[in-house]
């Protein structure tokens, strides 16, 4: 038991030290605004990838509409902060809620579909959101939404990433999460064991959309400016690539995928002509030699051993309470 507590404290200390270190480096100017921008992008990509992984990797629902949820969050946040001067925390949460409600509304009719059909339906949903945004003058239409105040900084990004990972991990380690994984494994068997598959698919969609919405909010309040085309079909594909690259069904894989793909494209910016070519070749090689992604379904040892220890403790707690 000491072991488990120690490990948790150790992890907390490491994360906190990392946060302080980066904050100090930003304050002293060693991490300049260009690197900070990349840190923000990595953070947003982690949130997007982890939340899509919940839908695609764990629940097994192939969604190509994730950027649309991000877009809804971004516009919600932009309207609330720029037009109504609301505090950022409220905008952040409401962005998630709006995206989540959209996720439920779109999920109920489309989640009856399977595999390719669902992918096409969610793709269509993404395009609808984009076209509506282009044709709505209130939010700037095709020109885009300008003058959004900048609230997002390293602290917000770090906290959001941490909360996203923590909550999704906790969800997956509950019976709700197990039901979602069971749906991915065998829908008919899951149903015969009492899992309401429609409910859990929509739930996974809603939770995934919530975090995508918050990612959109962080994005909008960092870059001052958003336009509908930033959240098109290609953005959804980019997120999916991170998930597949890192490992479908692995949270840590999504984190590592987001970080490594961002770093790769950062280094390739020096050679813009060959950037996409090399990027594609790297993806190609990874998929041929590790088709389950970098991590497959595995999580890091530290997560695994913690899980086992926790279960032992739970066991004792249960015995006492009896």
């Amino acid at each position: 038991m000491m072991n488990k507590v120690n490990k948790k404290i150790l992890l907390g200390v490491i994360l906190f030290a990392f946060y302080i270190l980066v904050q100090v480096l930003i304050n002293t100017g060693i991490i300049d605004s260009y690197y900070e921008l990349n840190l923000v992008i990595i953070g947003i990509n982690i949130i997007l990838a982890v939340s899509l992984n919940l839908i695609t990797g764990f629940t097994g629902q192939f969604s190509l509409g994730h950027a649309a949820f991000m877009s809804m969050g971004a516009y919600t946040s932009a309207i609330l902060t720029a037009k109504f001067n609301q505090p950022f925390i409220l905008a952040l949460l409401l962005s998630g809620v709006v995206a989540s409600v959209a996720g439920i509304l779109i999920g109920i009719p489309t989640l009856r579909l399977k595999g390719d059909y669902l992918a096409i339906a969610t793709l269509g949903f993404g395009e609808i959101v984009r076209v509506i945004a282009i044709n709505t003058d209130y939010i700037g239409g095709a020109i885009g939404f300008n003058d959004i105040p900048r609230y997002t900084n390293w602290t917000w990004i770090f906290a959001s990433v941490l909360v996203t990972i923590l909550l999704i991990k906790r969800f997956l380690n509950s019976y709700h999460g197990r039901a979602c994984i069971a749906i991915r494994e065998d829908e008919i068997a899951a149903e015969s064991m009492g899992v309401n598959t429609t409910y859990y698919k929509v739930l996974a969609f809603a939770i995934g959309a919530f975090f995508a919405g918050t990612a959109g909010s962080l994005y909008a309040n960092y870059f001052y400016f958003i336009k509908p085309d930033s959240f098109g079909f290609m953005k959804s594909i980019d997120i999916l690539v991170i998930v597949v690259f890192g490992g479908i069904g692995s949270i840590l894989g999504s984190v590592i995928g987001a970080i490594s793909l961002s770093i790769i494209s950062l280094f390739l910016q020096g050679i813009p002509e060959l950037r996409m070519v090399i990027y594609s070749v790297i993806l190609f090689v990874i998929m041929v030699y590790r088709h389950k992604g970098i991590l497959g379904k595995r999580e890091f040892k530290i997560f695994k051993s913690r899980k086992k220890n926790r279960k032992k403790v739970e066991f004792n707690v249960g015995a006492i309470s009896k």
């Binding site: 197990r178 494994e185 065998d186 899951a190 899992v195």
Partner: protein, 260 residues
């Protein structure tokens, strides 16, 4: 006391009459064998009983904790009513551990909400600890305890069958439907399965309906046998009666009896 009553049940797939006008009552505590040639409608019958298909006509009534009628039958609700099943082609959650497979069996017994899962409230720890304990107990009874952390897909075939039955039992059913539990088993494994099913009936106080092609299993453990042919229920009776029934011999058992 009856647990299941089927009245003039029919199911058509287009022009094919898969189930034709079946009437049957199942008594509590019995092991019922369901036999018949391939395509006789046995699995369709199971799928009707578990709400995967809805009948073209007729009524299915369960007398479990409460009376359940045909219109209440939804695949994800049957476990809640006290009915659990296994599948002809094993349907385990292959990339989940043996333990997690069992925990899914407890799904309908969990009550805590999503907020409780996010915030790790005491109700979360209590329910998870309880389920964990019960799952270990169940695995021990099935001799699978030492394999609890293995992925279900890595188990040998016989253990996969056992795990599927254990998962069904985790839901605490009153009525257990087994679809060809002995398929692909050798005679020794079948014998073990026979003992397992007998023990399950005693230990869990269950009514069991099983579809099976292995006559040694059916004739040895069943209290009653139903014979299906072309969607009709052609005979019903004790194993001895069935073995001597003209229509059954004609439809299905002909060669086996000649061999004897």
């Amino acid at each position: 006391m009856w647990v299941l009553s089927v009245n003039s049940l029919s199911k058509n797939f287009g022009g094919i009459k898969a189930i034709r006008n079946i009437n049957v009552n199942i008594e509590k505590g019995n092991i019922i064998g369901l036999i018949g040639p391939n395509g006789a409608g046995k699995t369709t019958f199971f799928n009707l009983l578990t709400g995967i298909y809805s009948p073209t006509s007729g009524e299915i009534t369960y007398n479990l904790d409460s009376k359940i009628r045909t219109k209440d039958l939804k695949p994800h609700k049957i476990v809640h009513y006290g009915i659990a099943r296994t599948f002809q082609n094993i349907r385990l959650f292959k990339d989940m551990t043996v333990l997690d497979n069992i925990l899914i069996g407890f799904h309908n017994r969990f009550k805590y909400g999503i907020g409780s899962a996010f915030l790790r409230l005491p109700s979360y720890y209590k329910a998870e600890a309880n389920a964990y304990e019960n799952a270990l107990e169940l695995l021990e009874k099935f001799n699978l305890l030492d394999k609890k952390d293995e992925l279900a897909k890595n188990l040998p075939y016989g253990d996969q069958r056992k795990l599927e039955i254990a998962r069904a039992l985790a839901a605490k059913p009153k009525l257990l439907l087994l679809d060809e539990p002995a398929a692909g088993m050798n005679p020794i494994e079948t014998k073990e399965l026979r003992e397992l099913i007998n023990w399950i009936r005693e230990a869990f106080d269950l009514t069991i309906i099983l579809i099976e092609h292995d006559m040694s299993l059916v004739m040895n453990i069943c209290d009653e046998v139903l014979v299906f042919d072309y969607g009709n229920l052609v005979a019903q009776g004790t194993p001895e009666e069935i073995q001597n029934d003209e229509r059954v011999i004609k439809a299905y058992l002909g060669e086996e009896v000649e061999e004897c």
